[in-house]
Structure formats: C-alpha cells, structure tokens
C-alpha cells in the first residue's frame, strides 16, 4: 500500500494539512467525505487528487456518519471533515456509530470562538463539544499545528484500532481569521 513518507526536513507548522494527509494515509483511510470548510480546503484537495481514496461531497454532514458506517461494514476506513456548524446536523445519525460501536473519526474545524466576524456561528460553536459528548463521542481538541498532528494520529488509532467514535476539534485560532 502506497503511503507518503514523512519528511522531517520539510515539516513546517503551517503545512499541517499535508501532515494530516500523511497520517490518515498511514492509517489506511480509503474513504473521505466532507461538507467544505475553508480550513479543510487543502486537505480536501489532497484527498480529491488521491486515486486510492474515494471522496464524497455531502449535502449535510450526517450523511458522512452513515457513509463511514457502510465503509466499515465493507472493510474500509473513512474520515469525515466538517466545520462546527455541521456537528448539530449529525446528532441523531451519531446513534448509529454509538450503538453499533462503529469506528468514527471526524475532523471538525471550529468557527465562532476566535476572532469570529459572523455571530450566527457562535451558538453552534458553543454547543459543539457538549452535544458531541452527550451523544457519546470522545472529543479531542488541538490549538497548535504540532498538537493537531499528534492528536489526529492518536485519534486515528483510537477510532480504527479500538472501535471508538472520536471528534477532533481544530481550534479557530489555529485555522486563522477568515478574511472578509
């Protein structure tokens, strides 16, 4: 199985999307689904250009929960990308992952918590972690690029090797301010 090799010489803190791609490939992720977020745009491009990974653009984030369960039934690992506003769309569908103990890895870019211009992002931002925990997910957070890479590596292992349901929240401070 082809996997991009880590190259410590070119590892820079602002190239965390490449690092996440490398980690998820090393974890044998074969399906990726997403509702776009600007913070995920580079990772989405890398997966979309990857012939070994099937990507699905979704109309609503909960679809990705179901796709991930189906992928696992068929023997493949899946990752789901979204922003925090999409977490609210997922809650009932997460019953499937929780009750079936399906491996689940969600990477959630946070909005509404750091230098946010759009106040409509704030309520769901506040509800993101409590609602995920209420439905039974383990929530991990990263605030720096180095921390994010390590966190996703650990989360991938927990999800795919230990049948856990994990959401990694990527702090808005890490993503940077959206330009208006």
């Amino acid at each position: 199985m082809h996997s991009p090799q880590p190259n410590p010489d070119t590892r820079t803190s602002d190239d965390w999307p490449s690092e996440l791609h490398r980690i998820l490939k090393a974890a044998d992720v074969r399906q990726m689904s997403y509702v776009p977020d600007a913070g995920h745009s580079q990772l989405i491009r890398m997966f979309s250009a990857d012939p070994d990974v099937t990507t699905n653009v979704l109309t609503t984030e909960e679809e990705g929960i179901a796709i991930a369960a189906g992928a696992w039934l068929g023997g493949q690992r899946s990752v789901l990308l979204m922003q925090s506003s999409g977490v609210g769309n997922c809650i009932n569908m997460l019953s499937l992952s929780a009750i079936g103990r399906f491996p689940l890895l969600m990477l959630v870019t946070m909005r509404g918590e750091w230098a946010e211009f759009n106040p409509w992002q704030v309520p769901m931002s506040r509800a993101t972690q409590p609602s995920l925990e209420a439905i039974g997910l383990k929530v991990m957070r990263a605030e720096t690029p180095d921390d994010l890479v390590e966190t996703v590596e650990s989360a991938a292992s927990l999800a795919y090797e230990s049948d856990q349901q994990i959401a990694v929240l990527i702090g808005q401070r890490l993503i940077g301010k959206k330009k208006w």
């Binding site: 109309t59 179901a66 696992w72 039934l73 068929g74 019953s95």
Partner: protein
C-alpha cells in the same frame, strides 16, 4: 392521482430477494427491516432500527468499499424522504453497484399511518432521475417486481432507484436482532473481516 396500491409488502420483498445470491442488503428502520428479516435472516443483512435517512448512504459507503458486490438499500418512503439530500450525494458519487428500493406505502406506518409526502404527489423516482441516477422506475404488480428482481441482478452504469407501491398495512412484525454490534460483526465476518 396515483392508482390504489394492491401489493402486499412482504410478498413483494420475498419476490424481490428470491434469488439475491451474494447481494448485500441494508434495511431502513421500521417495516423494511421487518420485511427483510421475514424472508430469512442472512449474514449479509444489516438491519437498521434507527439512523433515519441513513440507509441509502450506508449502502453508498458499503458499495464504495465492495465494488465487486451488489449492494441493495431496502427502505421505506418515510426513511428515504428524510435522506433526500443523500440522493444528490449518491448521484454525484455514481456507484455502479448500488440500488435503492423504496417499499412505498405512502404512509409513516410505525407511528400511526399518517400520510407521507409520496401519497401527496412527491415522486422519489423523479428526484433520483434529477440527481443523475442511471435508472429509476415504479412497480405495482407481482409481475413487475419479478422483472425488477431480474433487472437489479444485472450490472448498471450507475446508481438506480426503484419504488414498489404497496398496501398501507402493518403485517405481523418479524424482528431481527437489535444488537447492532452483533449484526455489524456478523456482516463483516461474512465478508472475511475479523472483529476487533
């Protein structure tokens, strides 16, 4: 106005799955899960008891992981209506091995037989066609279900969605295990994957 449906749902599903061979089946919550179980439990069945709107999308993830196998999402009109956006996602993904069959009684049968959208003019096959499905159709008789069973056994150019119009009635329940971990592990073992 639509014609009055005459088909018994259990009889229709029995005809549809009579020669299923190695088709993998995901059933939507409520009656489709009971229908699927009623024709005989099978290791290649994944029964939903919740996750409304997710049956066809579980089918998508499964079809993408198992491109050499035919996958059938067997669901109801209410379940598919909750996942309308998923038809767009499936249309874009364009799996060649996924069929959706909607057992359409035009009602929410589990909750008191309230009329659903499909009994009020909404046509799921037209929505699927607009989403780029390779084939769609509506069947109303046993003979048509027999032809549909033969059709979905054949290769396709992309996803297909068919509606089987059935009588609005709740036959005696045929209950599979509600233990999703057991059903999941049994399903994966059927495909040769070990439990964690």
């Amino acid at each position: 106005m639509s014609m009055q449906a005459q088909l018994d749902r259990r009889a229709a599903v029995a005809v549809l799955l009579k020669n299923r061979k190695d088709t993998l089946v995901v059933s939507g919550l409520g009656s489709p899960t009971y229908d699927l179980h009623s024709v005989g439990d099978h290791d290649g069945n994944f029964y939903l008891w919740g996750a409304m709107g997710g049956a066809a999308l579980i089918g998508l993830g499964l079809a993408q992981a198992q491109p050499g196998k035919r996958v059938l999402a067997l669901t109801g009109d209410g379940e598919q209506l909750m996942g309308l956006g998923g038809l767009a996602t499936i249309g874009v993904a364009r799996p060649r091995n996924l069929d959706i069959v909607v057992i359409d009684n035009q009602h929410f049968g589990e909750t008191g037989m309230q009329a659903s959208h499909t009994g009020r003019g909404v046509d799921l096959t037209a929505i699927a066609a607009a989403c780029g499905f390779a084939a769609t159709g509506t069947v109303r008789t046993t003979g048509e279900v027999e032809r549909l069973a033969a059709q979905i056994a054949e290769p396709a150019e992309g996803p297909r969605l068919f509606v089987i119009k059935v009588l609005a009635e709740n036959p005696p329940r045929s209950l599979p295990s509600r233990d999703a971990v057991f059903i999941k592990n049994r399903f994966r073992a059927h495909l040769g994957f070990a439990a964690a």
